[in-house]
């Protein structure tokens, strides 16, 4: 494995290597997942307790509800060179707060189309419903996302200034 894919953790080089993009042939995408606490985060926990293996490319940001995910978070990730962003919430009807995922669905339907319109690969921003019981589905979803984003290639347009 190429050293440059491992995130750098030495403080002095905290943001040093980021300009360097890994060679495409063994490109390991970095994916950020915004997971609602009650369904998707618990689903990911279940994948863990069930010991279902999936690729390590995803970094999970825990939020109370998919309705908490601000489009600015998503934009921030993409503009900083993150290769893929996932927003995952409870299935419709299961929202812990009863309505949060309805709002998220509406908001991101618009954002997703807009990002595509300005030329951002649709594979880079995705949305999913994963319940607390869907550990297997979570693992499968991450696997699929990683494959899709590998196909899309590194998010080379952005992140150069970091």
């Amino acid at each position: 494995m190429n050293k440059s894919q491992i995130p750098d953790h030495s403080p002095q080089k905290n943001s040093g290597d980021r300009n360097l993009k890994a060679p495409i042939k063994d490109f390991e995408p970095k994916i950020v997942g915004f997971l609602c606490n009650w369904c998707s985060y618990a689903g990911a926990d279940l994948a863990g307790t069930s010991r279902i293996k999936y690729p390590p490319n995803i970094r999970v940001i825990r939020v109370p509800c998919s309705g908490r995910v601000n489009p600015l978070f998503v934009l921030n990730c993409l503009m900083n060179g993150v290769d893929g962003v996932l927003v995952s919430g409870c299935h419709i009807g299961d929202c812990h707060y009863s309505e949060g995922n309805f709002y998220a669905r509406r908001r991101f339907a618009i954002l997703k189309r807009l990002l595509e319109y300005i030329g951002i690969d649709p594979r880079r921003f995705q949305m999913a419903w994963v319940s607390a019981a869907e550990g297997e589905r979570w693992a499968k979803l991450v696997g699929e996302l990683v494959e899709e984003i590998k196909e899309a290639g590194p998010n080379e347009h952005f992140g150069g200034n970091r």
Binding site: M1, I6, P7, H9, S10, P11, N14, K30, V32, N37, Y41, A42, A44, D45, A47, G48, T49, R51, I52, K53, Y54, P55, P56, R59, V60, I61, R62, V63, P64, C65, G67, R68, V69, N70, P71, L72, F73, N76, C77, N80, V82, H96, Y97, S98, E99, G100, Y103, A104, R107, A139
Partner: protein
């Protein structure tokens, strides 16, 4: 800032695939981190002691625990750091077990990911703010909407704990549907005999106030602090002067169909709904009273020895504060007149179960005789049809009403008891007799009371002479059945009250596609609603028989009492917070908040030097979902614990 990072081996759960020591070493180098260590079991007592000791020795002010899912031990470590003198909200967890060691193979990559997860947690904790639990006062009084058996039981339970309860009942008397029942399945206790004592108890309780002939006008506020407007409709009889002597309704010249008797009997215009009514004070039905319709008569006022009749009484609106609300508004019968095949409700001898209850009641309008309403002659051949409206997606509701099987069996039994020559035929889809002694009861009705059970639907009813021809199929034998019946009894399903939706909207509680109120969780919070402080009991939530209604009533009471016994209400501080300078007052958040936890307030804007409307979060109501934060374009409303700065900091170190 002095952040301590504590990485857990979790035995081999983490250590098998993640190089824990390497993680601890890497974490020590993160900005702000002044202490980093690893231990076998961080959540154990020795593990927690390591954390506490390090906090003291290294004067740590923030802590990251890299171990398992926060859903398991976030509370543990909050408590742990609090014991060591740090604000409990200055701790974050890096989930390196469920999200890392358990799902990835051993190797550099997995360790690298664990290090990143810790880096993210360190970034987040650096933006944590110390938070305090919030407390709201509690109004120690419970409102119970609906005075049926569920509402009565709730009031009794609340009063037993010496807390005040207020029942608001729309009808002139409490008692609800149960008051009109004859006997109850499966024990055949007489409904009045078991209900009346409870009505008396509740009316005599010093802790219970009953507003009959009253409705809820408006509900504002939130848990611990509801303000409720109650509309007291004009009874036209002074409840304080009336002794219930009954002279007035004895003399009233008007006779109209009695609602209580399902129109089978008559009542005067000034009346008490039934003899055991509580309060035992008549009410004037202004629609039929001659004084109100034709400005004449006035006999009741003349004969009342106490001067209690007051024709000029007007609507009165009272306002009261409550700490909790129990919704016990019950159900209405499904209106079977949508069934064209059963005569669109036009055949006189097709009646509902509630009609039958009144008929079979020995103090009812027929003196306990089961008759054909068309000619008053005794009915011999009686057909019962189950699932009227229930389990019918076409014309009724998709759900099973749960009790019709049982009350139909009871009716079949009572029919034979009242008229040994009578024959009951019961058309059913399935017999659902799940309950203590329920199946046995149905069996008894079939075996000992000769009720003929036919599995199938009735396809058509029509009148032929003075008989009803009931045509149906017995799907077990495959035969077409035609019965010449005297009486057909419809086991109409239980559906939501016509104004259920408007009440739900007033209370901000959700309702389902059938307008039944929705519980907070179908299994684990069956009497709560998502609006804290509002609880459900009885058939307003789903069809319930008497035992279930009573059980949920007591459950709801316990939930309400759980609030009453507290001095003040402690709330997690992980709630939304408004930054007034950034707020434009557009109210997008108010529209979006599912909990009505945001209201407007006027502030003096120092920059603009004028008053301005902005929003503010009602701390006791906010649940911390954060939906408002994204509805807000100006980021003027933020969520503690998952604040914009915290999340952006997490993203910044990715």
């Amino acid at each position: 800032m002095k952040i301590g990072v504590f990485t857990c081996h979790c035995g081999t759960n983490i250590a098998a695939t993640v190089d824990v020591e390497k993680v601890a070493q890497a974490a020590a180098e993160f900005p702000g981190v002044t202490f980093s260590t690893a231990y076998n079991y961080m959540c154990s007592d020795p593990g927690q002691n390591i954390v506490k000791k390090a906090i003291k020795e290294h004067a740590l002010d923030r802590v990251v625990i890299a171990s398992c899912s926060p859903s398991l031990h976030e509370k543990t470590f909050r408590k742990c750091v609090e014991d060591a003198g740090i604000n409990p909200y200055l701790v974050e967890m890096a989930n390196i077990r469920e999200h890392c060691s358990w799902v990835h193979p051993e190797g550099e990559q997995t360790t690298a990911k664990a290090i990143e997860l810790v880096r993210i947690a360190v970034a987040k904790v650096s933006r944590d703010r110390p938070l305090e639990m919030t407390y709201t006062p509690i109004e120690k009084k419970v409102l119970i909407i609906g005075g049926g058996i569920a509402g009565i039981q709730s009031a009794i339970d609340i009063a037993f704990a010496n807390y005040p309860a207020v029942i608001v009942e729309r009808e002139p008397s409490i008692g609800g549907r149960m008051a009109s029942f004859d006997k109850t399945f499966p024990t055949l206790d007489c409904a009045a005999c078991i209900l009346t004592p409870k009505m008396v108890t509740v009316s005599q309780s010093e802790h219970v106030t009953i507003h009959t002939y009253s409705e809820i006008e408006e509900v504002t506020g939130y848990v611990g602090n509801f303000t409720v407007k109650i509309r007291k409709k004009p009874r036209s009889v002074d409840i304080n002067k009336c002794t219930g002597c009954g002279v007035c309704y004895g003399k009233c010249p008007v006779r109209v169909p009695s609602e209580f008797d399902q129109g089978l009997g008559k009542r005067p215009a000034i009346y008490i709904p039934f003899p055991q009514a509580v309060p035992n004070v008549p009410v004037i039905d202004r629609e039929s009273c001659l004084w109100f319709t034709e400005q004449k008569c006035g006999i009741c006022q003349k004969v009342c020895p106490f001067g209690a009749i007051d024709y000029d009484m007007e609507d009165e609106i009272i306002e009261e504060k409550f700490g909790a609300i129990i919704v016990a508004t019950g159900f209405q019968q499904f209106d079977y007149s949508v069934y064209g095949e059963y005569g669109y409700g036009k055949f006189k001898n097709v009646i509902t179960g509630l009609h039958f209850e009144r008929m079979v009641n020995s103090s009812g309008p027929t003196g306990g005789k089961i008759i054909k309403p068309s000619d008053g002659k005794e009915a011999r051949e009686v057909v019962f049809i189950q699932c009227i409206g229930s389990r019918d997606e076409q014309k009724g509701v998709p759900y099973c009403s749960r009790l019709c099987c049982m009350y139909t069996a009871k009716h079949a039994l009572l029919l034979r008891e009242h008229n040994p020559d009578a024959q009951a035929y019961v058309f059913y889809i399935d017999i659902r007799a799940a309950g203590k002694n329920y199946e046995e009861f149905v069996k008894k009705v079939q075996d000992e009371y000769g009720a003929i059970y036919l599995r199938g639907r009735v396809s058509r009813i029509f009148e032929k002479g003075d008989k009803l021809i009931v045509r149906g199929a017995d799907t077990l034998s495959g035969a077409q059945i035609e019965i010449e019946a005297d009486l057909v009894v419809m086991a109409t399903g239980l559906v939501a009250m016509p104004d259920a939706v408007s009440l739900a909207q007033m209370l901000h509680i959700p309702y389902d596609q059938n307008n039944l109120f929705t519980e907070a969780h179908p299994k684990l919070a069956p009497v709560e609603t998502i609006t804290s402080g509002i609880f459900l009991t009885g058939a307003c939530q789903a069809p319930k028989d008497i035992p279930d209604a009573v059980a949920t009533a007591s459950a709801a009471s316990v939930k309400a009492l759980g609030l009453m016994v507290q001095d003040k209400l402690a709330r997690e501080p992980l709630i939304a917070r408004v930054i007034p300078e950034l707020c434009s007052g557009c109210r997008a958040c108010i529209e979006a908040c599912p909990f009505s936890a945001i209201e407007t307030e006027e502030i003096e804007d120092l920059r603009l030097r004028r008053k301005r409307t902005v929003v503010k979060v009602i701390e006791g109501v906010c649940t911390g979902c954060g939906i408002c934060t994204t509805a807000c374009r100006m980021s003027a409303i933020d969520l503690e614990g998952f604040s914009n700065r915290q999340i952006m900091e997490e993203l910044a170190v990715l």
